[in-house]
Symmetry: C2
Subunit: 714 residues, 2 copies
């Protein structure tokens, strides 16, 4: 309350409260000093006051109140108690049965009356569980949902909730749009940036418990003794926050680093090399997580270089990890020119089902192609019934406007995770076939490709923080809705507005949540509606280039491969008359996707080559509908600009201006997309853009000349 | 009819009639071969069949019908008769009284019954009158308004209807946006481009009868013997079309060319030099028109260089011209730093009223500043009660989007010409105080700065042809409305659509006329509404640069001089509390302009410095109204795009595409203007852009960096 008072003084001094505190966004959603909390909410903390969870809570409390949270030797009224299963308060309250269900990382938070005192109990089986409970309690305070009648039980959906950093050892980030890598490898292990701890805290606050430090396009160097020491230093920072460290490895490391003649998994010296290397790592980092491998994919080495299979390669390394409890995540993102690219991962891996070691897990991108604005789920989900499979989502917006576009990805991921594969009958959602419900495995996991860089606000776009946040929350619980996540994040990230009225705060949050929740569909509309995919520019995957034609290029790296536009129509025929990719799905999906009338229109051009004059369900022709979709994307972004600009007095000036500026870029880009796509496809459809639609303002020939100077790495 | 038949065959062969004939616009509004006319409309031509008018008509007729118009020795049924006043048919029809009223250039066209035959009579006092009658008759046929009950009497409002070419002898055009000069000085006099005749015909068809060949920023070279021969050659081409040739001269010519010590008008050698030079010209070109002079203006030499006055300078040259009936047009466009620029021409010239020779006419720009998108009329109109004054209009769109923006200028000129000066009481319009109604003069005149270049379509933008057309029509008659002109031009320029239905032609023309008539107000809205003026970029006068600040620049060449934006408000205080420019107007205008409540809002910021929160008549604040005006300009251009795109099947493909392309530029530019102006002035108003308005999509700082590579000359 002290802070509030001080704040009010400052506001009245300045006369312009909303411009008072420039905010750089560095605090993410952990803006404890902005939270108004009654100092008397807790009289003090008791129980396991020595656990890390308690110290994290106390630290936040002091930021919220300006006071220390006193440690109580004896329980008092309004005590906050941290307790483990064996503790007396848990036993006395007869919570043991419930506690058993929590597993290693779950927790309960409950208002109890104990020794005639009203208390708030946070209980778990492990320190990690208490940590998650502590952040959950903080979130309730931050979002103003704490009360004296709390009854919360939570446990995570997946065992491992992992960030994949595509960070290179030279400090660049592949598909990174928020500056350079946060890992300052040159300075490690001697110097530890304070950002490492902040990173770990942010992850813990949303339930993430693992990280892969380096790019899947890995260099062997990460396995040198020098780098192992650097990794060890990071692991030490992350350990209290219950974050396990993994690395991506290069399959050819034995050859490159170990100077062996090759990296053939059947060669005993290779196997030995891996065993020695793993041993070295675990000696340095006993709780090391394991490896992530991209092999025989996009030019990277792998077992097939030696006539071996993915199984041979994976199992060999898994055997090395096994003695230490290490996990091997092996990516299924493989494709070679030839058959329909959307079919290749399935074709390659389906025959290996049941053949991997039990500490191998296959990492599968959400869609069969590559993190497009919208894809149907990969048919590998549910198809491998005796193999652990983990979803790989992309938090960094490689294909969704980089850090310039405001696109909240939770709805897209929710759509994927809740998609029914029908693999084990109705209800076999992607979530359920990967979280252990149907496929019993030692470990379940979910990965998200990080959008974090060394920008002061971590993610470039302030709203891209919401995607980091959302990935953590969905990895913890796939029951939580995108709306809940949007509301939580907004409330935590923007609710500090003591200077405005309660109702203006509510309106502000309603606007932001409205923007967040519709933003993915908006992006799909102005980029690739109705199942269109991969019509991006060759290099940067930012702007449109459906015309892209590079002589000699791999056909499956060219947009025309995907859109197949001609005077006859547009779309990829994946029906049984085409590539028959539909056959990789279980019934009844396979029949539904195969039938142009039954196929959901959002996947229409993914599965069908469709005449321009095809009648859509709303009676429009395909061409007209395409036009309206693109235009609605444009109009929707303009609507976001209006909504945002209205909030100027509610938002600190720096974040307001920075988001405003990026929305302007997004509005221009949406027009660019619409103009480029419609003018280009119009050369095939030869139909007019419906006349009630705002007209293009560019010439196709000029748009074709645009060459952005955007590198993979920034 | 033959052509129609052939056309239909071609159309049915092609199957895509509207794409059949690419049109380059070179034929202007004289597209006779597209006109459908009954071959039997005229049985033949009789009367003065040897006049140029008859041969022009016959030439057009043959294009319309594919047949020759036969010369009839004796009058037959449906004869077309050209006759002069003294001819028998005129005398017999008792038309002599009417004929006297026609003056030198008027004509009448009448359906008469003569010798029991139904005839169409074109009669005039001169060959020139017959020529204008002939083109009037053709226009009636082109616009489908000819009937067998015609009764037309026409005579021009001004004696001289002049184009001013700002063409330099090196082939560039100052403020030219349609390629280089049409005058190929290097080739003259030996080679005569066929464009010279086409140019003369186009001018004659709309009643123009004079041209100033070269830039008012004139070089002495135009007066060399070599150039006089070139001018003579052009004059020969123009003569049959009743077009007189003038040139702009440099006041320092005697010094530069004649090697005299100076060009002091009081120096006898100077006077002699001019007399000799004029004599030389008239010897070569006996019907030479005279000179146009820009003196002591924007760095050009003039009598004030020698302590003499504009009167001294003008009268000296007028005396040289006098023996030959030559006219001297002396520009009042003078201003020096100091007092309010809008007052300076008046201040300089008002004292000279009545002091000029009778063959001097003062050429005054329509507004007191410089051809802005909208200005109130110059207070010199009506103020010089004993001096001939001629309006100077600008056809070339120096300040109205060059040849990229579709802006029909007739409504702007109509607004000026019909403005009441109150100089001689109510009804003393700008037209009436310059056309001889109130100020009796030997010669009345009106000039328009040409927008013609050597582009195949003459004017860059196909629709800029309409401004050339409109200037001619308004110079002929200031009674004609902009709507009539727009309808005529549209019908003549786009009506050739045999391939479409009658109703689609009507719709097409309605759309084009709708665009034309609202386009000036639209341009004002997205460039400079509410009396804002001269907030253009320094050099090119194309884009916005209200922030422009060039150290050491003349203050009256900087936008801030004109907009005066500050936190207190915006606008130029020209009331009696400010520069008192209002005092140069007659009552009751002066009081009306002086009073912020009475001042027309379209001139509000021209005459007043107005607080941002000022309440407009519609209840909005000034700031809000400014925002809505700019936005409505943007939305209106987008509406033009829709209207135009709908016409695709009605317009030939080349003109359709070229206009479509420029409308796209205009739409982008309108957004640029709106964003630049609102974001810049918002730094002063500190008020939000109303939230129902589409938001800016650029950053002010980025807009400030735009530097167009546009030269004065192209």
């Amino acid at each position: 309350m002290k802070r509030t008072f001080l704040y009010l003084i400052l506001v009245s001094l300045s006369g312009l409260g909303n411009f008072l505190f420039a905010e750089d966004g560095s605090r993410l959603w952990l803006r404890f000093s902005d939270v108004t909390v009654n100092e008397k909410l807790f009289s003090g903390v008791s129980g396991r006051t020595d656990v890390f969870a308690a110290s994290e809570f106390a630290h936040a409390w002091s930021q919220m109140t300006g006071d220390e949270l006193l440690t109580q030797k004896h329980i008092a009224d309004n005590s906050l108690i941290f307790a483990l299963a064996k503790d007396k308060v848990v036993r006395n309250m007869r919570l043991s049965t419930e506690m058993k269900k929590l597993g290693d990382e779950g927790f309960l938070i409950r208002t109890i009356t104990y020794q005639n005192k009203k208390l708030t109990l946070v209980a778990a089986n492990t320190d990690a569980g208490l940590l998650y409970g502590s952040f959950h309690l903080l979130r309730m305070i931050q979002t103003n949902t704490f009360s004296d009648q709390i009854k919360v039980v939570e446990k995570p959906a997946y065992d491992l909730r992992i960030l994949n950093h595509w960070d290179n050892l030279n400090g660049t980030v592949e598909r990174g749009y928020a500056g350079r890598s946060i890992w300052k490898w040159d300075e490690l292990p001697a110097k530890l940036s304070p950002r490492y701890e902040a990173y770990a805290r942010a992850n813990a606050s949303i339930g993430l418990n693992a990280t892969v430090l380096n790019n899947v396009n890995a260099t062997p160097d990460i396995l040198t003794t020098e780098y192992i020491q650097k990794i060890k230093a990071l692991a030490s920072v992350f350990r209290p926050f219950n974050i396990k460290v993994f690395i991506s490895i290069n399959f050819a490391s034995p050859k490159q680093l170990g100077r062996l003649p090759d990296a053939d998994p059947m060669r005993p010296e290779v196997q030995k090399w891996w065993k020695e290397k793993v041993k070295e790592i675990y000696r340095a980092i006993p709780d090391f997580g394991g490896f992530l491998v991209k092999a025989n994919s996009e030019g990277l080495p792998g077992p097939m270089d030696y006539g071996r299979t993915h199984v041979d390669g994976a199992n060999m390394i898994a055997d090395a990890l096994k003695p230490y409890g290490g996990l091997l995540m092996w990516r299924a993102f493989v494709y070679e020119p030839g058959d329909d690219r959307a079919k290749l991962a399935y074709k390659e891996f389906i025959g290996f089902d049941g053949k991997f070691r039990d500490n191998v897990i296959i990492q599968v991108k959400n869609g069969p192609i590559d993190f497009q604005p919208r894809e149907p789920f990969s048919p590998l989900f549910g198809a491998m019934k005796r193999t652990p499979v983990m979803p790989e989502l992309q938090i960094t917006q490689e294909y969704l406007g980089h850090s310039n576009h405001l696109v909240f990805l939770a709805p897209m991921w929710e759509e994927v995770l809740k998609s029914d594969t029908f693999a084990f009958g109705k209800g076999s959602t992607v979530a359920a076939v990967t979280d252990g419900t149907f496929v019993k495995t030692k470990t379940t996991a979910i990965a998200g490709v990080a959008n974090i860089g060394d920008d002061i606000n971590w993610t470039g776009h302030h709203f891209a923080q919401a995607n980091w946040y959302a990935f953590g929350r969905q990895a913890w619980s796939h029951q939580i809705t995108s709306k809940q996540i949007a509301e939580e994040w907004t409330s935590m990230t923007f609710d500090k507005s003591q200077q405005t009225t309660k109702s203006s705060i509510v309106n502000c949050q309603l606007s932001i949540v409205e923007i967040l929740l519709s933003s993915h569909e908006t992006c799909v509309n102005y980029m690739m509606p109705l199942g269109l995919h991969h019509i991006f520019a060759w290099d940067h995957h930012y702007g449109p280039e459906p015309w892209c034609d590079i002589p000699g290029a791999r056909p499956d790296w060219l947009p025309k491969y995907y859109h197949n536009a001609s005077k006859a129509g547009i779309g990829f025929d994946r029906t049984d008359k085409g590539s028959n990719a539909v056959s990789q799905y279980f019934s009844p999906l396979r029949e539904q996707f195969n039938n142009i009338e039954a196929c959901p229109e959002k996947y229409l051009l993914w599965f069908h080559h469709v005449p321009w004059s095809h009648k859509m369900k709303n009676g429009r022709t395909l061409w007209d509908e395409l036009c309206y979709r693109y235009d609605s994307g444009v109009q929707q972004v303009r609507e976001y600009q209006k909504l945002w600009d209205k909030l100027e007095s509610e938002i600190d000036s720096q974040r307001f201006a920075e988001v405003q500026s990026r929305l302007r870029i997004q509005a221009r880009d949406a027009v660019w997309w619409k103009n480029a796509i419609l003018l280009y496809f119009q050369t095939y459809s030869q139909m007019p853009i419906p006349f009630d639609i705002e007209r293009p303002v560019h010439e196709l020939d000029d748009l074709k000349k645009i060459k952005l100077d955007m590198k993979h790495h920034n």
